[in-house]
């Protein structure tokens, strides 16, 4: 069953077409990796899925609902079923790491404070940050911030997790740890949409890969299928094991 569907999505910024008639289907419980060089519209695609951007043309369906046509409470309901890990984590820098994770719980549940703090601690423990609850985001390293961002994205146990460049700026060991966390989430049934230009990471996490180039999907399939693609650019990209 489809969790996400993009139908003929087109988006331009200042006259430059970033997404050009993109059509995609992402199945429930699977990990979908969107590959491509910097500036090809990968992050823009993610922002369309969660409704931060609206397409100039086309539709974005999440669980059958057209996100591009929703607003207010309906959009909020759809967003609650999704988590978003930003490239730079985008932690709220005026509150502690723990309160960052607790924030969605405080907004969307009527749980008592003690329970919210317990759940936030448990989410932080899942990403190995159980001792960082009271620290401010500025006190964390890049990798820790990303893990804290992942804990916040998972706070409401979303069905769909959108991840923007999980390994960008991280050392290989930390990047592999993040990948393992994503694989675990997939095993628990979460649908993953991962934007990356890190091919080893995509091979490890993704069930299905697609490559975006100049706003268009130029290849789609398993990692092995993309390795054997007729397109020279796709084969070259898949061979760039050190990318990222």
């Amino acid at each position: 069953m489809q969790a996400i569907k993009l139908e003929h999505v087109t988006k331009s910024f200042d006259g430059r077409k970033v997404l050009d008639d993109v059509t995609l289907e992402i199945r429930e419980g699977k990990a979908f990796c969107l590959l491509g060089r910097s500036g090809t519209g990968k992050s823009v695609t993610l922002k369309h899925i969660i409704g931060l951007l609206r397409p100039d043309e086309g539709h974005v369906l999440v669980h059958g609902k057209d996100v591009s046509a929703l607003s207010g409470r309906e959009l909020s309901d759809v967003r609650r079923s999704m988590g978003f890990l930003f490239q730079n984590a985008a932690l709220f820098d005026s509150i502690t790491v723990g309160e960052n994770v607790a924030f969605p719980l405080r907004r969307h549940t009527d749980w008592p404070d003690a329970k919210i703090r317990d759940v936030a601690r448990a989410k932080l423990a899942e990403v190995g940050l159980e001792n960082e609850y009271d620290k401010m985001p500025a006190e964390l390293s890049g990798g820790m911030r990303k893990r804290a961002g992942l804990a916040r994205a998972m706070a409401l146990d979303p069905d769909i997790l959108l991840v923007d460049e999980p390994s960008a700026g991280l050392d290989p060991i930390t990047a592999a740890e993040i990948d393992d966390l994503l694989v675990n989430l997939k095993k628990e049934g979460t649908t993953l949409v991962v934007v990356t230009h890190d091919i080893p990471s995509a091979r490890h996490v993704g069930d299905e890969l697609a490559m975006l180039h100049e706003g268009k999907i130029i290849a789609r399939g398993t990692a092995q299928e993309l390795d054997r693609s007729d397109d020279k650019l796709v084969r070259a990209f898949m061979r760039s094991e050190g990318a990222g």
Binding site: R80, G83, F84, F86, A90, F103, R107, R152, L156
Partner: protein, 260 residues
């Protein structure tokens, strides 16, 4: 040259239009649930309570200076007894509200602009939306409401501190007693002196909150943009306060003609 000036005026008018729409939307959404009481109250504390030392100190200093100037003028006519009354009317009607507005524009406007601007360029505003929180309501509406609520209170404080500062200057010069000073100061003040002038600062608060929030939400170009937003918030909200004050004073004179 003429074309350039014309372009600048058009750009400014477009900015005024966009900012006014932003503010109108904030007022409309403030009426719709969910109501962010907790967040609004937190900002009233941040904006109001934390501005108190600056406002109180400024009020005291202005009171002292105004008292000295008033004495220098009235002494010539042998009207020193009028000093408390003249000072109180000047402070409560115009000096207090305007100075409070400009001080808050400097302290709070810069803070709101920089904070929201930094949140914008670091994707924290997007992150709020991603966790299904209405960022406009949570960040902008709460700050604008807090400015509207805090400004009249801060104005009352600057008025009182100014009058008290005038007393300190007066008693050190002429030895006037506190009882006599405050009796003379408050005996001339009426409802139409205090209430409209104080309430007009709610409009100043609306301007400060709206201009700073709008600039914060539209910040681009990284940390350089944040710096520009912070500066622009102070400059533009101060200009708007000074200009709108002319209209408001005229309006008060029309509505309260007896005391005008």
């Amino acid at each position: 040259m003429v074309v350039r000036v014309g372009d600048l005026i058009l750009t400014f008018l477009a900015w005024v239009g966009d900012t006014a729409l932003f503010g109108a939307r904030a007022l409309y959404e403030a009426l719709l649930p969910p109501y962010e009481f907790k967040e609004t109250w937190r900002h009233v504390y941040e904006i109001g309570w934390r501005s108190l030392p600056l406002i109180a100190l400024a009020g005291l200093a202005i009171g002292v200076v105004l008292s000295m100037h008033t004495r220098a003028s009235l002494e010539r006519f042998g009207a020193e007894a009028m000093i408390p009354a003249v000072l109180a009317v000047a402070l409560v009607r115009e000096t207090g509200p305007l100075v409070a507005g400009l001080l808050v524009a400097g302290r709070v406007g810069a803070g709101i602009g920089a904070e929201l601007g930094a949140m914008k360029v670091t994707e924290q505003i997007d992150a709020l939306e991603a966790v299904a929180v209405d960022s406009f309501k949570f960040l902008a509406v709460t700050r604008i409401l807090a400015c509207i609520l805090a400004m009249p209170l801060l104005t009352a404080v600057i008025d009182f501190c100014g009058i008290f500062g005038g007393y300190l200057a007066e008693t050190s010069t002429s030895g006037m007693s506190m009882q006599l000073y405050f009796h003379r100061a408050f005996s001339v003040l009426q409802f139409s002196d205090f209430v409209p002038a104080t309430l007009k600062t709610a409009v100043f608060g609306f301007i400060i909150g709206t201009v700073a929030s709008y600039l914060g939400f539209t910040t681009t170009q990284g940390t350089e943009g944040v710096g520009r937003t912070s500066t622009s918030s102070v400059v533009l909200s101060s200009i708007c306060i000074i200009l709108i004050n002319v209209v408001l004073v005229k309006l008060i004179f029309l509505l309260f003609p007896v005391r005008a």
